[in-house]
């Protein structure tokens, strides 16, 4: 039942599961023209199409805010749950027990994750729930018209708000501090990298935190603002050139300069190939990752790429030793103890 629904017209290109790009789209976006979030939705669609994801096998989650509206704009054929402000993690954590063969993408914002939802964010990371957790990070509250968020840089000046007094929260640093198993940062203005990272995040077993700087064109896109397109383009410092290679594809060694690459093999056998740029960076060292983020903050670099990965740690539901059948397909025969146990239970009481 995963085939494309019959359609009139000329044949459209399809992927390995027989679906066209259209099968991955959602409702038209109602966000502002040029919003970074729309570009991320497009990359989610592209990544899922290229990875041959079956939409019915993917769940979508979000909290509240501009970013959290976006799951309506991709994967129409996937179940979605747009919950409460800052509470996406708990809903997703519970839902993932229903059928552990399903994958999940969650979309949150900087307010949703780093302010009202910080507690739940840290705990879903700590539990290593198997899902992609995207933060569409623009440093500002959009739906309520332009207040500072917790990721806004100190000194940022916004209309009606004045000057921000506080140091920003670095979501990647928070994720690493909570023992995340996959942490990456990208930039909505760098769609190619964002797509590769989304693919790798989907393939990763466990929580994959993707902090994507996603400019708010309406409230926080001034040239000197750290979450603007201009600042991002001027200050982006990619850690490496990154490509995701699915498990069945052979890596063509001759394409890659010897000595300048590192490969990270994910749980499902797929690979992330990291091509060295100016500096060496090894994303499998937690301490190095924190040090690098600290340096980037001091030097005002927008560091992007795979910051930290630990591919082999078991995901949350794996530690529960669950039956192979999805829990939500079990019936009374599986769930209700047999009638003869009742007498035994009564005997256990005094």
């Amino acid at each position: 039942m995963t085939q494309t629904l019959p359609m009139a017209g000329p044949a459209v290109p399809t992927n390995a599961v027989g679906l066209s790009r259209k099968d991955y789209t959602g409702a038209p976006s109602t966000l502002c023209q040029g919003c970074g979030h729309n570009s991320i939705s497009s990359q989610i669609i592209a990544a899922c199409y290229e990875m041959n994801v079956v939409p019915e096998g993917m769940l979508k989650f979000s909290g509240i805010g501009c970013s959290s509206k976006s799951p309506t704009y991709f994967l129409n054929r996937s179940f979605g749950f747009n919950g409460l402000h800052g509470r996406m993690p708990s809903v997703a954590t519970g839902a993932m027990f229903a059928d552990t063969t399903l994958q999940a993408i969650g979309v949150s914002g900087d307010g949703d994750t780093a302010s009202i939802g910080m507690g739940q964010f840290k705990h879903i990371v700590r539990r290593n729930v198997d899902m992609v957790y995207i933060i569409e990070n623009n440093g500002v509250y959009g739906l309520t018209k332009g207040q500072f968020s917790a990721t806004a840089e100190v000194g940022l000046e916004l209309k009606k708000q004045g000057v921000n007094q506080y140091m920003p929260i670095d979501i990647c640093m928070e994720a690493i501090a909570s023992n995340a198993t996959f942490v990456a940062r990208s930039f909505a203005g760098d769609p190619k990298q964002a797509k590769e990272l989304i693919k790798a995040a989907i393939a990763h077993n466990g929580i994959a935190v993707l902090d994507i700087i996603s400019p708010c064109v309406t409230f926080n896109n001034q040239e000197n603002a750290y979450h603007s397109y201009t600042w991002g383009k001027d200050h982006e410092a990619p850690l490496h050139e990154l490509s995701y290679i699915p498990a069945r594809d052979e890596i063509l060694i001759e394409d890659i300069e010897p000595g300048g690459t590192q490969e990270v093999t994910l749980h499902d056998g797929s690979t992330i190939v990291l091509k060295k740029l100016e500096k060496d960076y090894n994303p499998t060292h937690r301490w190095e990752a924190l040090k690098m983020l600290e340096e980037a903050q001091r030097e005002n670099w927008l560091v992007t790429g795979l910051i930290y990965v630990e591919p082999q740690k078991p995901a949350f539901t794996e530690s529960f030793n669950l039956v192979d059948t999805p829990l939500n397909r079990l019936t009374e025969a599986d769930l209700r103890p047999a009638r003869e146990t009742m007498a035994k239970v009564n005997a256990w009481m005094f």
Binding site: L5, T93, G94, D324
Partner: protein, 633 residues
């Protein structure tokens, strides 16, 4: 001296964290095994060690096991509360105290027995010194056993049960009991009237606490997911799931059909439970008042997005942190309207341990049938105390998984379905579950305004239509929720409406009132919304007295709202001090509110005074009078 047989209460005053709960439970269980109706209520502080704590045991041959305010037998082990315990003994009562408390016995209207607990336990060579205090508690059990006629064999059975058939601790404790009994036999002369004599009234019954019962009920209801956060008095519910699930849901392949998650707080606990309920699992959480406060926003989401989930609230007394270890029925109106905007909750009100089990499984059927959160309001008294109970009964009906569409169903409908469409006219829509592989099965769940297809909408009539359907669904719930329990008396002058753990106290008060000529009928309500049986009862009686353990008369408020035309005949008897209901306050509360024709003389006078003497005062002067009272203060 006339004997008083099987009709008294025992209060043990000790220090918490001293291991006395084993001793007190042993007394309770031994009396239960002697066939005598009995209850035990632990009145304990919110503290781990060192604070005063009381355990009250009510022995009653007629089966009235509500808390009694009289303390016929008092056991005093705590020096800090010695004087208070001594004062509390009923005239003619018996006072057992540890003889190392060097305080004077200032009363001559009671019998005092000094107990050499420390000395006797030191003589027990098998008891290591570090266990002297702990096992020492068994000495007073033995002395009491000898003095009131508790069967030592039954005490052994209770210890054997408590120590899970392990011989060494059982024997060590039992020997301390025997040492106490032997010493009392040789050294004490009985001067009080209280004795136990075996009966057969508990034959076939079990003894359990409500939280264990609720967990077991949930297991027979097929629980698959529970997320929870530790809070007194609900903690043992979740822990009991952990205790019993591995055995009761054991499979040959050793794999599990359920998951229990300890969440980071109650917000997350309900959030996870809602996620799992949305995913199609039989999902629950368990908490108490402060936790329910945190769950409010998620409860509103589950109501509006129509997600099945079961929420157990083992009530303790609020507001705020309140008294974490004291019982209450104070969360009723909060649960009934939980969340901002218009919302109405389906609430179950178990009255005892048996119903905790029964509602444990039924709540899942209701949640999935009605696609809404089901609140089960138990309380600390039911949840944490040991109650006599009928044995648990295997669920009488197969699981009701509600309206769920499979891949096949969607195929047959050719994808033509709407998540929030009222296809059957009962207000309950159909849902699909994540993992359904049909390309037309998915829908987008949201707490924002939605249409029948679950799409976002701000269209006024559409929004209103969905909200009105939810109201209709709430009406439909009336036919599914547990019916009230009715105890009718021929010629009853008043109707008493009560719920939850107060029933035993209410029944006892009814018997006392009937003995003085005031006959009453009782309806114990077991769910919200009120079903047609409640309508009938309220219409039938000229006066309805509503009994409950809270300050403001919350059930009374709900009844006034649902039955405005009948409200003038409702009277509220609400009382709340953190202690379980007693027949005394129920009786007095009823008498204070009784305005019927065949009333007792003094009540007649009192009411007559009220209605005749009260002059028709003008508003102005009434205000003056109250100002004066205020000034005096």
């Amino acid at each position: 001296m006339n004997k008083i047989v099987n009709d008294f209460s025992i209060t043990v005053g000790t220090v918490n964290g001293s291991g006395s709960s084993t001793a007190n439970n042993t007394i309770l269980r031994a009396i239960f095994k002697m066939g005598i109706p009995v209850s035990g209520k632990n009145l304990f502080p919110s503290n781990i060690q060192g604070q005063p704590t009381w355990y009250t045991i009510r022995v009653n041959k007629d089966g009235y096991t509500g808390r009694s305010e009289a303390r016929e037998i008092v056991v005093a082990i705590n020096p800090a509360t010695f004087a208070r315990e001594l004062d509390a003994v009923a005239p003619g009562g018996a006072f057992f105290y540890a003889d190392d408390i060097k305080q004077p016995i200032t009363r001559s209207d009671i019998t005092a027995y000094a107990m050499p607990i420390k000395q006797l336990i030191r003589e027990q060579k098998e008891v290591p010194p570090k266990l002297h205090d702990l096992v020492g508690n068994m000495v007073y059990v033995g002395i009491l056993a000898q003095m009131i006629g508790m069967d030592l064999e039954k005490i052994y059975a209770a210890l054997d049960f408590h120590f899970k058939r392990r011989e060494k601790p059982t024997m060590m404790n039992f020997n301390a009991v025997k040492a106490g009994a032997d010493w009392a036999k040789a050294n004490l002369t009985k001067n009080d009237p209280f004795v136990l004599e075996p009966m057969t009234k508990t034959d076939g019954m079990i003894m359990a606490d409500g939280n264990t019962a609720a967990a077991l009920g949930a297991i027979y209801g097929g629980v698959q997911f529970e997320a929870w956060y530790p809070i007194t008095p609900a903690t043992s519910l979740a822990e009991s799931l952990n205790d019993y699930l591995p055995t009761l849901r054991k499979r040959e392949d050793g794999k599990r059909t359920y998951a229990i998650v300890q969440a980071e707080d109650e917000l997350a606990a309900l959030g996870m439970s809602i996620g799992a309920g949305w995913g199609g699992l039989r999902s629950m959480t368990s908490t108490s008042g402060p936790g329910l406060s945190l769950m409010t926003e998620f409860a509103g989401l589950a109501y509006y997005a129509e997600v099945p989930v079961v929420i157990w609230d083992v009530q303790r007394i609020g507001p705020s942190t309140g008294l974490p270890t004291r019982t209450s029925q104070g969360d009723l109106t909060f649960a009934a309207f939980i969340g901002h905007g218009d919302s109405q909750s389906v609430i179950l009100l178990p009255g005892d341990v048996y119903e905790c089990f029964e509602f444990g499984w039924k709540a899942f059927d209701l949640a999935e049938r009605l696609q809404t959160p089901i609140f089960v309001l138990s309380d600390l008294d039911i949840g944490m105390n040991q109650w006599m109970s009928k044995p648990f009964e295997y669920p009488s009906t197969p699981m009701d998984r509600g309206k769920v569409l499979s891949e096949k169903d969607i195929e047959e409908l050719k994808g033509n379905w709407g998540r929030y469409l009222d296809k059957d006219g009962d207000g309950i829509p159909y849902r699909t579950l994540p993992g359904n592989r049909h390309p037309m099965s998915a829908y987008f769940t949201r707490g924002t305004g939605h249409d029948e297809q679950a799409r976002y909408t701000e269209e006024a009539p559409v929004f209103q239509r969905v909200l009105e359907r939810l109201k209709k669904k709430h009406k439909t719930a009336k036919q599914y929720v547990p019916a009230p329990i009715l105890h009718e008396t021929r010629g009853a002058e008043i109707g008493i409406l009560a719920y939850g753990s107060t029933e035993s106290a209410v029944q006892e008060a009814r018997a006392q009132l009937a003995a003085t000529g005031l006959r009453s009928s009782l309806m114990r309500v077991r769910a919200l919304p009120f079903s047609k049986e409640v309508d009938k009862f309220l219409e039938k009686y000229d006066q309805i007295v509503v009994i409950e353990m809270n300050r403001d008369g919350q059930m009374y408020q709900l009844l006034c709202m649902d039955y405005p035309a009948l409200a003038p005949k409702f009277r509220s008897v609400a009382f709340q001090d953190g202690l379980p209901a007693s027949a005394k306050w129920v009786r007095e509360g009823i008498l204070n509110n009784y305005e019927g024709r065949k009333m007792k003389d003094e009540v007649k006078k009192k009411t007559a005074k009220k209605s005749i003497k009260k002059p028709p005062v003008k508003k102005k002067s009434a205000k003056k009078a109250s100002d004066k009272r205020g000034a005096k203060k």
